[in-house]
Structure formats: structure tokens, C-alpha cells
Amino acid sequence: MGLPKFEYVAAKSVAEACRLLREAGGEARVMAGGTDLLVKLKAAASEALPRGTDAFNGAAPGGARSPRLVIGLRGIQELAVLAVTPGVGLTIGATAYLADVASHPDVRRLYPAVSYAAAETGTPQVRNMGTVVGNLCNAAPSADNAPALLALDAELRLATKETEGTMPLSQFFRGPGETALRLGEIVTSVVVPEPPTRSGMSYRHLSARGRVDLSAVGAAALVALDEGGRVRTARIALGGVAPTPLLVPEAAGLLVGVVPAAHIVAAAVAAAAEAARPISDVRASAGYRRRMVRTLVERALADAIGRASAGKEVGS
């Protein structure tokens, strides 16, 4: 499968990348790792997609089916950042590789659900090429890196040619392959705040093959306890069971303010399953997905509560 023809520019700055993106009026795409973009370009070129399917699901502002320009981000030094900074949290730049997020010792220690999700994405080769931010911008409902980052209340840093801004990750996903990015705007990094004290986090997922393939269902949880063992903060996020990765505050809210006894956790699990809107596709049936939401949320909550009550500030 060959690629369609396009021009290529290795952008030297964020401003240049945004300017080129804007000037192309929807006929350009930015590329970090290329592991999603190039596959889509090849599929579009070979018409391997079912008729009527847009390879970009409308994600390219302007509706371009195949771009005339690919803007490489790899040469922009500041986008490669991967750092844990006291008082700020974890910053994952747009071109930071999945493999590095998976193996970074501080990320593994302080943000284990984030490193685990990165380690479970794709193959070793994909993790050496692909990026966490790219996984988010591709906006697949099943994106492995989304649930943990949602549960941890991550925020995106955005840039256009003239402006810089932030957006909660929870407002970023608009539909399969669709994000809130505007024409000429890119995500420069995702920032994960420091986990609360006495908290635990977890990400659990399932796929047919266990490795390599996309997750059918994923669930992430963050639970923080007060000194009396009552839940201070809880967030639960799901992947693969709705048009976007999603937070389920109606489920997590049931835990807040109380000691997470078994019947409380069971109610939260049931509420999470209720909030899921799964479809049947090649990876799993809707019924299986809904059942597995229960299982995975139950496990993720058990992990998170266990780690929080173990007195550690973070999970391990």
C-alpha cells in the first residue's frame, strides 16, 4: 500500500507549524509519530475503507480527505518534553514517544496508570514511533491513553500561530476522530496534575488478542481518601464504549464523601455500566462491552482504593 502524494515540511517552531496549518486551509495535517496518520492516508489512497467512510471522520478542519501538505513536528525541540515537575505535575509533549512515557521511572512511580496505558498501546515498534498526544488527537473512542488521563484530570496545552491556551481533556473529544481543535491549532502537550495525597489510580483494559490490537473496552479510576478513609475525590473514565472516551461523574460521584464499602462500589460500577453507550463492531459486541465495563470498573476501583488506602500517596 503506497502513500498518496503530498508535500512535506519539517516545522522548526510551533508558530511555523500553526501558520502552515492555517494557511493550508484544512488541506494540511500535522504529524508526530505518523502511526495513525500514515495508515489513514494509505487507506484513503487505496480506497480500502468501506464506501462512504471518511478516513478522517471529519477530524481535518475543512474536511480534507487527503492532505496536500504534511507538517512534521519532530524537529520542534520543545514538543519532545517529558518531565515530572514538582508543583506542576507530568508534562508529556506532543512528540514524546509512547515508549518513553512507558519506561520513564518517575512516570512509572508517580503516574502508574499513565505509564501502563502507554506500555499497553500498540506494538514495540508503534511505541517507538507513536506518541501519547497523537493517540489523543487521533480521537479513537478506544484510545488507550485517554481514560487514565481523563481520570487524572489532565489538561491540554493548545497553540495557534498567535495564541496559547489550555483545555481540559474532558472537553477535547467530540466524536470518533473528532476533536475540539480549530483550524490552525495544535496540541503542544498534555499536563497531568500531581495526584492528590492518599490517592490511587488504575487503568484496566481488554482486547481480543491481548496485545497489538486496539482495546475493546478500557476503564480508569482515580480515588483519593481523607484521613477517615472516606473518598475525597473520585473519577472514573471509560474507553471504547461510547463515541468518545468519557468520564462518568454520575458513577464516581456515588463514592464521594463515604467510606467505599462493597455496596457503594457496586452501585458505582452499575452506574458506570449504565452510562456506557457501546456499539457492536469487529472488536466486540455491545453486550460484551457493557458486561466488561462492570468488570473493568470493578477491578480499576479495587486497584485504586487498595493503593489509596495502603497509605501510599500514589499507586505502584
Binding site: 500500500m1 503506497g2 502513500l3 498518496p4 502524494k5 503530498f6 508535500e7 512535506y8 519539517a10 504529524m31 505518523g34 502511526t35 500514515l38 495508515v39 494509505k42 487507506a43 504534511v70 512534521g72 519532530r74 515508549a99 519506561s103 500498540g122 506494538t123 514495540p124 515498534q125 508503534v126 517507538n128 514511533m129 496485545r211 497489538v212
Partner: protein
């Protein structure tokens, strides 16, 4: 518009002018005639096109050649630069019967090298995880897993997979190319 690029492949430098939409796999096979690297699925699923890029395993079918500009590529041809004596990884694949049709083998062997550079003594589970991005439709994987274990032992014995300055080379000892730099060698990546 063609882009001028410089690729270092198996220790040899190539100056090329290439279209931006061509993949590294295409350039290796069609321009450099290094046809050991295979193109299977073309979508990053099968691993037949795996090469090392600056010491990391990547799918060359999903790497734009322009983005490999200035970087070091290693292909299966770099494992046995003399073309005669096999690299310990290749010898292990032969000895263990880990090859049938052979189409996946170059990618498997490069992934094996990438794994052993990071983890010279992998467990079976680690071997399977390390080769998760390489599909074989013939052998059923057990022979391949055995071969990786045997290669790890062979390379540990010759001190080639770990240790500062050591190179992953065959029994001939370190092999150097025309510029005197060792082939088939990258420092372990961390």
C-alpha cells in the same frame, strides 16, 4: 518536490533526493536495493518491515524517509555485513528451525536485536512481549521464542549484547565497515 536527505544505513552513508511521500521501507528496497527488509501489511501491524532507527525498532513502512534524514538505520543486512558469517541471532534462528517461508524473519531478527540490546536476558514472557509486533504465519512462534533465548545465551557468552562498547557481532569478533566504525551495533537504549 524532492528532498535531499542523508541516511546512514548499516554504517554506510547515502545521499539521496526523495519524494516526501515515500516510506523508508520503499527507499531501502527500491533505491538502496536492500531487499532484506520486507513490506507485508504496510500498516504497521505485521512487523516484516522492522528496522532499527537510531537503535530503536520501528516500522519502516510507517516512517517517512524524509523523517529518517540524518539518522542511523540498521536493516537485516547489517546483521551479517560480511555476507558470510551469520550473526548469533541469525544462527540461532537457523539452529532452532525458527524459519519456514522466511518472510517475517528479517523483521523478527531486528526485533530480537532491539529486545536483546535493551534486555540481554529476557524471560519467555519478555521475549513474547518483545516480539509482539512481529507476525509469523508459518511457525507458531515457539521455535522463534526458543531461538531468541538461544541467541541471548550466545550473545551473553560472547559478551556482545551488554557491556560498554561491546557490539552485537558474530563469532568473527567486531566487524568494521569501510570507515572503521562497527556495524551491527548500537548502544543499549534506555
Amino acid at each position: 518536490m524532492k528532498h535531499p536527505i542523508v541516511l546512514t544505513v548499516n554504517g554506510e552513508e547515502y545521499r539521496l533526493a526523495i519524494d516526501p511521500y515515500r516510506t523508508l521501507a520503499e527507499v531501502l528496497r527500491e533505491d538502496l536495493r536492500l531487499t532484506g527488509t520486507k513490506i507485508g501489511c504496510g500498516t504497521g501491524d505485521c512487523g516484516a518491515c522492522t528496522v532499527l532507527l537510531d537503535g530503536h525498532s520501528v516500522s519502516s513502512c510507517l516512517t517517512l524517509a524524509v523523517e529518517a534524514d540524518g539518522r542511523e538505520v540498521m536493516t537485516v543486512e547489517g546483521l551479517a555485513p560480511s555476507g558470510e558469517r551469520l550473526h548469533p541471532i541469525q544462527q540461532a534462528y537457523v539452529d532452532k528451525g525458527a524459519i519456514q517461508c522466511g518472510f517475517c524473519t528479517p523483521g523478527m531478527e531486528i526485533s530480537t536485536l532491539a529486545l536483546l540490546l535493551q534486555n540481554p536476558h529476557p524471560t519467555e514472557a519478555e521475549i513474547r512481549a518483545g516480539l509482539a509486533g512481529n507476525l509469523c504465519r508459518c511457525t507458531g512462534y515457539n521455535k522463534i521464542v526458543e531461538a531468541v533465548g538461544a541467541a541471548a545465551e550466545a550473545m551473553a557468552e560472547s559478551g556482545s549484547a551488554d557491556g560498554a562498547g561491546a557490539s552485537a557481532v558474530g563469532a568473527d569478533g567486531p566487524t568494521a565497515d569501510d570507515q572503521g566504525r562497527p556495524c551491527a551495533m548500537w548502544p543499549p537504549v534506555g
